[in-house]
């Protein structure tokens, strides 16, 4: 399991990185932590001609709070964000979701933006971004644009990023009504890809944002009427069939739907019962 040949480039600045992307387009691929990409390269399941390594580079680092967002730079690792002292206060959902991401060792290298760019349908970070209604910042030689989470991830491993763009930051909303959060996940082992992952944010005592990972080809976020148990059950029952889910070697679609129906109310309740 050795990768195919490719050109290796380690740019020193964002400008250099987007120059390379402009030159090579779809044949180039940004590697930040490489925790998904390197495994795919080793398995020879991708054929990029150029690897653009931005891992660990200070030019792409940075966690800041600005304009109602927690903004995370392109090479900020998952552990750097998880260990950021203000995280629990700033984004309780991320603080609860990040421990589910891979393992200590992969979080040391895996980046927040890399996970969003890879767009795995059951990953925790894209689910969190979708649930919070966040956005990503894409830069190319042509300029910069901001794309809402729901417009960014377009399907399995697919995003609306243009080939010449790189994600320079992800922005997680931190409004006051997004602090009551809960996160639960079922996987075969801790650290595995989720069979089903649920993120809930109680905007009020009766209105909850629910994010669902692992059921559709991308994370899906919706607002649930949590005014009564039966309202929640109805909403989840409908969602289960709308998203339907798929069978794979780890779980059946039926089990995934059952999980949503049974675990959904618990996560919603957990979010509501969080102190404001």
């Amino acid at each position: 399991m050795k990768p195919r040949a490719f050109d290796y480039v380690r740019p020193d600045t964002v400008a250099e990185a987007v120059d390379i992307l402009a030159e090579y387009g779809d044949d180039a691929r940004i590697m930040a932590g490489g925790q998904s990409l390197m495994a795919i390269l080793n398995l020879r399941m991708a054929e990029p001609k150029v690897i653009v390594d931005i891992g660990g580079h200070t030019a792409f680092k940075g966690i800041k709070v600005a304009n109602g967002f927690l903004e995370v730079g392109a090479s900020v690792t998952q552990n750097e964000l998880m260990n950021w002292p203000d995280l629990a206060k700033t984004s309780p959902l991320l603080a609860k979701a990040l421990p589910w991401v891979g393992h200590f060792q992969t979080r040391n290298r895996g980046t927040v933006c890399g996970s969003l760019s890879h767009a795995d349908p059951s990953s925790e970070i894209p689910l969190s971004l979708a649930t919070l209604g966040g956005e990503v910042v894409l830069r190319s030689k042509r300029g910069e644009r901001v794309v809402a989470a729901e417009e960014f991830q377009t399907g399995m491993l697919s995003t609306s990023r243009e080939p010449d763009e790189m994600m320079v930051a992800a922005r997680f909303p931190i409004a006051a009504n997004l602090k009551r959060a809960a996160f639960r996940e079922v996987a075969r082992r801790h650290g595995d890809f989720a069979i089903l992952a649920l993120a809930a944010v109680a905007e009020t005592d009766t209105s909850v944002r629910l994010g669902i990972g692992g059921l559709a080809d991308r994370p899906v976020a919706t607002r649930i009427d949590a005014s009564s148990k039966s309202a929640i059950a109805d909403a989840l029952g409908t969602l289960a069939w709308e998203l339907e889910g798929s069978d794979d070697i780890h779980a059946t679609a039926r089990y995934r739907r059952d999980l949503l129906r049974r675990m959904g109310p618990i996560v919603i309740e957990e979010a509501i019962s969080c102190a404001a």
């Binding site: 399991m1 209604g133 079922v186 998203l243 070697i249 089990y255 059952d258």
Partner: protein, 991 residues
Amino acid sequence: MEVLGKPLVRKEDAALLSGRGRYADDIAEPKRTLQAHVIRSPHAHAMIGRIDARAALEIPGVVAVITGEDIAKISDPFLVAVKADVPQWSLAVERVRYVGEPVALVLAETRYIAEDAGEAVEIEYQQLPAIIDLRAAREKTSALVHESAKSNEVHTRAFTYGDPDAAFKAAHKIVKMTSEFPRQSFMPMECFVVVSEYRPADDSYEVMANFQGPFSTQPVMARACRVPGTRFRIKTPADSGGSFGIKLSVFPFMVLCGLASKIVGRPVKWVEDRLEHLVAASSGPNRITEVEAAVDKDGRITALKLDQIEDYGAFLRAPMPGPLYRMHGALTGAYAIQNLSVVSRVVMTNKMPSALIRGFGGPQMYLTLERLVQMIAREMGLDHLEVIKRNLIPAGSFPYKTAAGSLFDSGDYPRCVELATGGGRLEALMKRRDDARKSGKYYGIGFAAVVEPAMSNMGYLSTLLSPEAREKAGPKNGAVSLASVRVDALGAVSVTADCVVCGQGHETVLAQIVAEQLGLRIEDITVNLELDTANSDWSIAAGTYSCRFTPGTAVAAHIAAQRIRDKLSRIAAKQLNVLHTDIEFVKGKIRSKSNPDNAMAFGRVAGTAHWSPIMLPDGMDPALRETAVWAPPELTPPSHDDRINTSLTYGFVFDMCGVEIDPVTCEVKVEKYVSMHDAGRLLNPLIAEGQIRGAFVQGLATALYEEFVYDDGGSFLTGTFADYVVPTATELPELELMHIESPSPFTPLGAKGLAEGNCMSTPACIANAIADALGVENVQLPATPARINAMISGEEPARPAHVAPRQGIASAGTGGAKQKDARQIKGSGSVQVSASPEKVWEALLDPENLKSVIPGCHALEVVGPNDYRAEVSLGVGIIRGRFKAQVKLTDLKPNQSGRLGGSISGPLGNSSGTGLLKLVPDGGGTRIDYDYEVAVFGKAAAVGGRMIEGAAQIVISQFFAAFGRKLGGAPEKKSLAKRLGSLWGGKGTTK
């Protein structure tokens, strides 16, 4: 006992903790060694067509591409234990029979280049029906894995002991069940490594490999290479990254690399990677057992009937079908059952070959027997534990002769049960169960009682022959163990032995055994276990397997050390002027027991044997080197009535556990696990505990996590560690270990094997607890949450009327719930276009148009009417590969419907499928409805399990979307986000 029996820390550890291990891939290879890469079959069953290596050979650094044809010219098929025509060479010849079967070997200057070349070799396959399901394989109408064998069931033998028919007639009740044991591997962390060099000067092979034995396979390898055993030299490295039985199966590659070296005239090295290991290294056999018990009114089993159907995959590698016969003498387990009938069947399927694995037949057998005992209790309304107790072989009846011929050496089974369930342990579990059930939770208690055999009788496999055939072939029996102890002129002691390092700590235990005899510390003993068939002590029984170390090799070392001690005593006695019976060995001194001051240093006495033969007692040979051969007399050949003492020692394990099943997630949590062992005398309790804990987690893996999954088409679906789920520390339950010691009378050390027991007991114990928790009869292992969900969730709430079924995927996958679904990806969709059906039809038949709508199409060549070859790049997101495609349109009904069929193949895998297109006039335009069925093989199926069907759907919808766009329309597609209502205000994209 000064040293032996003490929990000493290991001699091995300092080096291993410092990165100073000497594993197979750490050893410098001979100069000019070529690196090998194995090209493997993506298909479960296919004829091999043309192999075109021209492009590969043009890559700089590539030296050769070797095929099965090349190998068959210079070697013979491997010998097989069963009389069935199932030839296997080290590369596939003419036909492939399982996914991952080696088809060609690339040799290059680096592994990277060899893998590049592997992708450039083009191999044509003509697919054949794959035989995957074990039951279906036995049907008369089934296609054959080996036509030469005339049947997929290549071996059947029936045995009867006592009078089971009479017992069944007299039975108060008959309890029947079927158990199914899954395919899995206790795969080691280190994969296979081989360095082979052919030496033309004497037509010999020198092979270094992390091979674990049994060395009865050595003659098989030599025969395949057409040389005598002395010219097939095997060397094993000082350290090995685990084996668990799996590292027997490196042997075909030891031969392959040797033959490759012969062909190219350079040494050849191959390091297996994890993908190869998961897909095709080795599997434990899956087994279906139909079992019936005749039971008296008190729940005592008076007779058993077993029908064991075991799946060995595509080939029978020596020494298969071991798992089916290794337990033969002990088939009645821990129970006093003297009437037994058993049918043993060996079945071939298109799966990776099954071979040695920790537990070796025990896990399969005990899952059946222990689930049966629980079922008996359940059906008779008795307490499970009480039924176990009533059936156990009573204390005081040892040595105990079982129905099928085993001679159980020692034990006190009832006492083990009393101790394990006592001390409030069972009461606490029962209280826990009561409380949990009261609060609406699922909670169950399981038990398992297991007799754990160790050191196989080399004659056990001949039980598969009829007594007449055995008579003709001559008796086979015994188990030889060899060890040597040397003392040099300064008194330094060294030990060699016939086991292979696999990580257990044999070095430490051998040092303890020898140090004990010689009054030394383990630091004073140097142990070298690098086995070299050219100059080590070994026999066909050598190797590390069937827990033979403790009852075998350890005993040989003990005997050799005793002889050295005796010799030194006599030398010292002469010099100290005392009787040799008055000599003792204490702390590096050899001295008189009666006058401890009359002493000599150990090294001084040893030196005499080397430097001063003149001072030795009369008739004594100089030097200090003893090689002991240990061959216990109890291991006799199968008797004329098919009774066989399959192993030398028989330990006992009694397990008890409590499991809670989460009603929300259906996850099984083992809350508490107690494992009680009687393995005779423990030689090193620290190491003993390590062996048990390791086996326990592997048993846990069988019960809840690990399974090799194939679909009905034969595709292998668990090709990464993300798909094949090995438990980690976060899945670890609490385990309480207990011991009693009933020394074996059949080995001088009184010790028995203990490293396989929990692989046998734990799956059964947990399955019993799950059955108890859920009140179900059938517990399929591994008991994944999806499988539990299927058992307890009842009928699913109906789809609300306003939610339309999703377009696209209809059904696929195995979901861990049932193993039978094919990886057939089925789906449907439709696309609305503004062109008329006539225009659409025209476009469909136009190659230029097709070229522009087939996703990623680089080139399209017309090879016949509506028959095309294309080069395409397909993928989803970052996952992408280049394929050669064949596309054909058939069943053409102009302007109405047609069938689009085709296949693609490339390094990522192969796929074939068909789609039915219907053109429906709709307004001024056309609605194109399509149904499709796609099967995926090879790497994409093996490692893409979680996403493959989604990916296929995307690629297919890309085609129709492009087709639709071309004809002035867009697919009828409402995005998920839109359907759910844009949540956060449709912020969209901002510049």
